[in-house]
Amino acid sequence: MANTHSGRTTLHGTSVVGKRLLALLSAHYIYILLVVFWIAASVASPYFRMMSTFSNIITSAVPISLIGFGQTLVVLSRGFDLSVGAVASMATAVASVTMVKGIIPSIILVLIFAVIIGAINGFGITKLRIDPFIMTLCMMFFLTGINQLIRPSPGGYIPDDFKGLLLYQVGDFPLTSFLILVVAAAVGFVILQKRKFGREIYAIGGEPEYARMSGINTDQTRVKVYIVSAVAAALGGLFIAARIGSGNAEAGASYLFDSFTTVFMGGTLVTGGVGGYSGTLGAALIISSIGRILQFLGINIWYHFIVKGVLLASVAGFQLYFARKGRRSG
């Protein structure tokens, strides 16, 4: 039964090179963008070239990229998680109340809460068939209220040991933050590319019904995705707690939007099944760079919203262009 593929000859020959190049470019454009960004900023402002700036960018990218980690998995599986910001806030609130009794037990408690939250999200979405948007929106409201009950006003106690460990620097180099980013990148690659769980996420996001027909337990995998999302958001929240040195029921709120911005800017498609974590990570670095650059150029910080909006829209536009081009040459 050979020679059934007459229509494929175009795949070989010159167009393959072009296609590969396009694929390479569209897979790593975010890092090209990041380098261009950094070079331009260094030229524009001498302050930007300082190590402390780099340190600041890396440190503020940590919570964005951790929370974006979970959101990447969720979006890849054709879902949404609107509760990530509230989960991060929950982590700061719970930590600020319980770390008095011990750091490790407090972290474990935060993670247990996260697992429960993720499991409830997953249960509502798969078993009760509530739309992910609605289910996680409700979870966000619920947690926002709970957070206020746990920590009505910012404050509480975050031990110096905890802060010292997470914000540890060698000279101006933020060692812990850097390691967290490296580990997140490695874990993201392994889970998504090298583990059954990750491959199933792509299958579900690509064609949910076909995934089921192929014998994947789609409900189970989706529940796991929401648990991972909540746990990643809680880890991001713990880092935020260390940075601000206290608990705050609203500390995570702005990270919800950043999580979507990084995921989409990083090339993961809103329709699921296409994308990955490396893009999200690059986008997290870009987002945390924007704030610094504007600051050094002496531009009002509110402009960074405008920049983010314009940047995301352009990146999304380019993606569409590349996707169409890729399809036509294929």
Partner: protein, 483 residues
């Protein structure tokens, strides 16, 4: 979908499963694979009652496997991953999926059906024939006791079909049971020992074909059982003679990815039907003329003048109106009232300087409602609360106000009950008599025979045969559907 189906299959035999579009074949396959549970009834294997929870259980516990009609491959994943999608963990080396081993193993699985592919490419990049064979090799690899092949031959060239038949014979000798579903009756007659016939979700019977003698007689029997006879529908009389005077629409060498050169004419005073098996390009013709498809080549002439139709707006401006078969999704604002639904398409006519003259609008809509005999207590009735037949009349009313030159309708009576169908037939005939011809896609055999003045049978993107509506030989018609 399915009403009452019972049959028994024996080991080491090949069964054909046939029926018209929508008879319930694919539904039955999905029930057997645990994709949706039956509401009633039971499934027994070797005398023991089983409950099939999901495809995983069907495959590994009960030994049932299927090649699905839709080729359930994930387009953005590699062929190798698609082959082993439900058992990726078996390729773990130190906790990581070993891609090289997976690709080597998948190559071996594909070789069993003689398929030689680059298994690292995405499933979206291979042809339909290749997809079909990938699915087949997947199923064969799991060595099922019961193998279901749902339209697996549809995209395959004939020499490969014969090789598939050889494989099926080998499996049969090894004591496997095969359920073979195909629209190509000659294939079913060639390979199957028994033929199970479904119609409208009912099991009609089983025809023995063990000897494979006198295939023509068996074929006749099968076709009769598949189509049967229904009663209760009354059709308006057809035009007395073929109307060939005033040409309204002509298509010249219309082509796109589905259509392979369509030439047709529609004249004033006639209903022309596009018939054939589902998905042969009938709807694509309507959608191409309505400006809903891109990359369409060829000429569209309206009343003898070439029209450039690049989008639905162009079509509507020219007087070409398309009525989708997805009435509730594409034609109606379900949560709005009758007034708005009928008015909106032609509102500019009644809104000088952009201001709607409500009184004028109201009286025009009221006239249309009484003209079409739409049963609604008032214009303020929400369309969702109307019956299917009245909804279809609302759709027609919407377009009639815009004074169409021709109506293109995709399955105009889909989802309607008998009474409503008859009303739509009468309405269509009345419109045609008043000068608006209709080009309609019909799937129900009785409608094809009794409604149109001309029948164009489509097969694989071309018009394969034309029948005059004045005298239709039903068997000849159905026969022409199949290649």
């Amino acid at each position: 979908m399915l009403k009452r189906i019972s049959f028994t299959l024996e080991q080491g035999r090949i069964y054909g499963l046939v029926g018209e579009n929508g008879a319930g074949k694919s539904t039955l396959v999905k029930i057997l694979m645990g994709l949706f549970p039956p509401e009633e009834g039971e499934i027994l294997i070797a005398g023991e009652r089983i409950y099939i929870r999901d495809p995983q259980q069907a495959r590994y516990e009960f030994g049932i496997d299927a090649v699905f009609q839709e080729h359930a491959l994930i387009p953005q994943m590699s062929i190798a991953e698609n082959v082993f999608l439900d058992s990726l963990q078996s390729f773990y080396d130190g906790g990581f999926i070993n891609n090289r081993r997976m690709e080597a193993d998948s190559r071996e699985v594909l070789n069993k059906v003689g398929l030689n592919l680059d298994v690292s490419v995405h499933a979206s990049e291979i042809s339909e024939a290749e997809k079909s064979l990938v699915e087949l090799s997947k199923a064969l690899y799991r060595d099922p006791k019961i193998l279901i092949l749902d339209e697996v031959t549809a995209p395959l060239p004939s020499e490969i079909v014969h090789q598939l038949f050889d494989i099926m014979q080998t499996l049969k000798q090894a004591g496997k049971t095969i359920i073979f579903i195909s629209h190509r009756l000659h294939e079913v007659l060639t390979i199957c020992d028994e033929i199970l016939v479904l119609r409208d979700g009912n099991f009609e019977g089983c025809i023995d074909n063990t000897e494979k003698e006198d295939l023509a007689a068996t074929r006749k029997e099968v076709v009769l059982m598949m189509t049967g006879t229904e009663k209760g529908l009354h059709f308006p009389p057809k035009a007395k003679a073929e109307a060939r005077e005033q040409n309204v629409l002509s298509l010249m060498n219309l082509r796109n990815s589905r259509l392979r050169g369509i030439n047709l004419d529609v004249y004033k005073g006639e209903i022309v039907a596009l018939a054939g098996l589902r998905g042969q390009g009938q709807s694509a013709i309507l959608r191409a003329v309505a400006g809903l498809l891109t990359h369409v080549e060829g000429d569209i002439l309206l009343e003898g003048k070439t029209k450039r139709i690049r989008n639905p707006y162009d079509a509507i401006e020219s007087g070409i109106f398309y009525v989708s078969d997805r009435r509730d999704e594409e034609e109606l604002w379900l949560t709005h009232d009758v007034w708005l639904n009928i008015s909106l398409a032609s509102i500019n006519d009644r809104a000088p300087f952009g201001i709607i003259r409500m009184k004028n609008d109201r009286s025009v809509i009221e006239d249309m409602v009484s003209n079409l005999r739409i049963e609604t207590p008032s214009l303020a009735k929400i369309v969702q609360q109307l019956s299917g037949g009245n909804r279809q009349k609302v759709v027609l009313g919407k377009y009639l106000l815009a004074r169409p030159k021709i109506l293109l309708m995709d399955q105009p009576t889909i989802g309607l009950d008998v009474g409503a169908k008859v009303e739509i037939y009468n309405l269509l005939r009345k419109l045609v008599d008043e000068g608006i011809p209709a080009l309609v896609v019909l799937t129900d055999l009785e409608e094809v025979v009794s409604l149109p003045d001309r029948i164009l049978v489509m097969r694989e993107g071309v018009i394969a045969r034309e029948f005059s509506g004045l005298e239709v030989n039903e068997e000849e018609l159905v026969d022409s559907y199949y290649g």
